[in-house]
Point group: C2
Chain length 229, copies 2
Amino acid sequence: MSGKCEQCIVRQFNSLKALTKEELIRISDCKTSRMVKKGEVLFDEGEHINGVYCIRSGVCKVSKMSDNGRDQIVHLIKKGDLIGERSLINNEASNLKAIAVNDMEVCFIPKEEILKDLESNTSFTMEVLKNMAMSLKNADNVIVDMAQKTVKQRLALTLLYLEERFINLEEGNIDIHLSREDIANIIGTATESAIRLLSEFKKKKLIELKGKQIAVVDKKGLREIAEGF
Amino acid sequence: MSGKCEQCIVRQFNSLKALTKEELIRISDCKTSRMVKKGEVLFDEGEHINGVYCIRSGVCKVSKMSDNGRDQIVHLIKKGDLIGERSLINNEASNLKAIAVNDMEVCFIPKEEILKDLESNTSFTMEVLKNMAMSLKNADNVIVDMAQKTVKQRLALTLLYLEERFINLEEGNIDIHLSREDIANIIGTATESAIRLLSEFKKKKLIELKGKQIAVVDKKGLREIAEGF
DNA sequence: CGATTGCTTGACCCCCATCAATCCTCGTGG
DNA sequence: CCACGAGGATTGATGGGGGTCAAGCAATCG
């Protein structure tokens, strides 16, 4: 069922592109592939992942449960992304939960193999390091936005982000089906608040709601809102 | 004025501990030391740092300006910490500003030297990687807290954090002089709100305010507040 | 076609941002 | 040595954002 890593296009999008052909063949031999259906849990908080997932297709939401019982979504992972490096590197159980937003195909590479390459292939390690540095910078930005911006601003930011990462070029829609609750859990607010603001944005012709799909119409308008008029 | 890295205790606290004696001597020869007075800027947003700072003494607050004109403090850096790795690794200008909270003594190690060691010393690279992974996990937690917790909860968390990292064992105080505005800028709220909550905590005997110093009295009580009663 | 789940809107109220006024605490210079 | 000014700390008043509860509506599914 699973193909060969050497021929897999997906790896061009992540750190694995720094591996040599030999390393890829070795990885290919020990990896396992797996389908994850929409709504299924890829891994849960507290679980030892013991490896890295490489996403071949589909999208998953990565969240953490807060004390108040609400899930906060901290990442959206899609085709070409790696996930699980952090827990692997500091050798801890995952502090995050990953749930498929639509059907996914993922490859699992066991810990030892990745560690072997991290030890021996410097340019691979540097790639991983670069990715982490980017994620870290990104996380700092999110912290600032969460701390300083209103819910309305955060929704505008989130829509722009979703448009950028998940646009369907043919239809102009945001091409993942997130529930209103999911959206609320990205921006960190109550579902009702998110809904109300969405309909406000719609009224102002900033977005369109085609059935359940969301399409960004006025990027500039959203950007202005996100930055505070 | 500056000592030798090989003999510097501070490096035990950060990734530099993974360097060999020879590497340390080389670093020692090309590093520069510098005093930064309270309130002075170590580096600013948009600045190319071109190296890494190793903090020998003192504390600095690392912040990012939000669109609304308020500084959000995202890190507090103290003795033994390294800062600047991220910008170095992805070769970008800093997106953060660092200001000394009290007088500091810092060593600056130029970019090329660090990169040289990253390329050649795997265990050093892995140390850096581990640190990043930890920071990243931490950042995710902060995002969740910012998104989901009330200002009161965030203040309780912040006080516990400050107590843990900056306690003065003799006096039981939190041993850095942060202004009320600084504290507000950590939790992401207005100065007045922070002040009001501090005096509420004092009334409930959770903390004591000795002059400008803050001392945590009832950790358990604060923890309960932080988790939502 | 019930029934469960998700979406939407209304009503209510509390938290918190904002503006304003006062007090406190220094450092500085007369 | 004291007076004064400036910046920080504190408290009060006020209004709006957004969380929560509740009810009605649409959609999906066995």
